[in-house]
Symmetry: C2
Subunit: 181 residues, 2 copies
Amino acid sequence: MKHELENGIALLERTPAALEALLRGLPEVWTETNEGGDTWSVSTVVAHLVHCEHEDWMPRARHILQADESEPFPPFDREGHLRYKGSKTLAQLLDEFARARVKGLEELRAMNLTAEDLERRAKHPTFGLVTLSELLATWAAHDLTHLHQISRIMAHQVREAVGPWVRFLGVMQCAGHSEAA
Amino acid sequence: MKHELENGIALLERTPAALEALLRGLPEVWTETNEGGDTWSVSTVVAHLVHCEHEDWMPRARHILQADESEPFPPFDREGHLRYKGSKTLAQLLDEFARARVKGLEELRAMNLTAEDLERRAKHPTFGLVTLSELLATWAAHDLTHLHQISRIMAHQVREAVGPWVRFLGVMQCAGHSEAA
């Protein structure tokens, strides 16, 4: 379990630099466009990642360690990314994500979690009891789901341009969209 | 059209650094595991990217510029990633991918492609005539489809660990797998 935690941290500490290398300075046709309708742009996804650093992962970890397990997590604002995005540029959002992630991981390490801590639980408003271990694994998986989404949003911009290759590119067929939770 | 080419190059030149930041030094539980059966590990995906740099994109671009449009691309070896992978470490494959990409983009830029060049065509063995413009857009989209796949392979490793969050994470629902072409 402690080993899983270390594996998760190894990924969590790399994501900001990966997004930085992929996204900073890219033409806006990749980063400010979306998949149609009210879907998210790449910049909006990064604002959502900033939001989650501030209001989801570590606050929920603290809640699990401090509260009685029957006490549900405080509500999570599904539109909160709008507050964090505001009129910020993608470059500013990438900086903010990187800073927030460093801070969050410092706090996580300082908790010196034991195997017993990782089994502690709290009540998720939608699906009931969850463990700290599940929350922390989800933090890492959530980075991956949004990296997955970012690659799909960007690929959407060249659906026409790739001509007949469209049907051979898995990312153009993806329907694996996340729900807020 | 030339503008699209520049947008594609902007992405193509960032992918190696993004994979570098995401993957180098990650525990093997993320990079040497797969999605079950004979699916690919992250390392295998990077070997495939190396293979395509050497035997797909720029060789096909040259073919389009040099050959008559009725002449099909030379066959592409669908198992060629195995030759490029061999016993190499992920770190070696990342280095090789970065070097090959720099070389390929240097060659692409040196071609000084005109709008007319981008409309030139060749015969794809599966779906007939394709343009150079479509090939180059697919080169960039192919990076994205494999970034999408890499995030999905990695997420697969924590399907159990995330507990009930599994059904809220889009990447865990993804069935957008690429076909070789």
